[in-house]
């Protein structure tokens, strides 16, 4: 007689109630980006070809800086989620796959922080 149940096999492997988190976050960020992309694109397009002083003043306005920061954070997050799916589909070796997934997370986070810091500098840098 054994008291072991199949639970032993699935522990640590199951969905544990967040199995759809990746899917859900991708949709959530997609919905947010519908608004943020249009706002950010309109602002950037309106600054196409303008000189340094004009661009600096325009991006330093708190409203537009806020829009850009939300856009950058959401866009990099959405991109990292999407790229992870692409990696999971095409990179098959376990070591290579894990390396790519981790690199994807680190690099997109670093780029998002660098871009947001740039916007903050335009607002507060004087």
């Amino acid at each position: 007689m054994t008291f072991r149940t199949p639970l032993k096999q699935v522990r640590g492997l199951g969905a544990a109630r967040d199995g759809v988190a990746h899917w859900w976050h991708q949709r959530l960020s997609a919905v947010a980006l519908i608004v943020l992309v249009l706002l950010a694109a309109a602002r950037i397009v309106s600054l196409a070809g303008e000189d340094y002083a004009t661009v600096k003043a325009a991006l330093g306005q708190p409203f537009w800086a806020g829009v850009l920061i939300l856009f950058l954070a959401t866009a990099y997050y959405h991109f990292r989620l999407g790229l992870q799916v692409v990696i999971e589909d095409y990179v098959h070796g376990p070591a290579a796959r894990l390396t790519m997934i981790v690199l994807n997370i680190f690099v997109t986070a670093a780029l998002a922080v660098a871009s947001i810091l740039a916007v903050l500098k335009l607002v507060f840098g004087g």
């Binding site: 519908i34 661009v55 991006l59 950058l72 991109f79 692409v86 871009s115 740039a118 840098g125």
Partner: protein, 126 residues
């Protein structure tokens, strides 16, 4: 043990391209390409934060004929992924799955992405 030759289902080289499959892979390709586009946005913002000299250099690169071709491709990829992403969100709530609807929404997405790209570029030059 001899390797069993399993039957294969029709795959990419055999299956005739259709609007559904072509738009599907385009969504993935534009998604990855938009990561590069996002990098360009970050570069432009970081240049603006770095100071006038560097910003003028980066702004000049992006305004050159080569820069404009890249940005044109970026803008179409953005609007394609934007429109097709909204199409995906409708599918996610269970709408638009009839065969005729899927083809028609695909045609609308292509047309809308072209129109939005043109509007953005007219806005940039206006």
């Amino acid at each position: 043990m001899a390797k069993v030759e399993r039957p294969l289902s029709p795959h990419l080289q055999i299956y005739r391209p259709q609007i559904t499959s072509v738009l599907s892979i385009l969504h993935r390709i534009t998604g990855v390409a938009l990561g590069v586009g996002l990098l360009l946005v970050s570069w432009w913002l970081i240049a603006a934060a770095a100071g006038e000299e560097y910003f003028t250099f980066v702004n000049g690169l992006m305004g050159s004929w080569f820069g404009r071709i890249v940005l044109f491709g970026f803008s179409w990829a953005l609007f394609y992924h934007f429109c097709n992403g909204i199409r995906h969100l409708f599918w996610d709530i269970g709408k638009g799955f009839d065969k005729a609807d899927v083809a028609r929404s695909g045609q609308i997405v292509i047309a809308a992405s072209v129109v939005l790209t043109l509007i953005a570029w007219i806005g940039a030059y206006a």
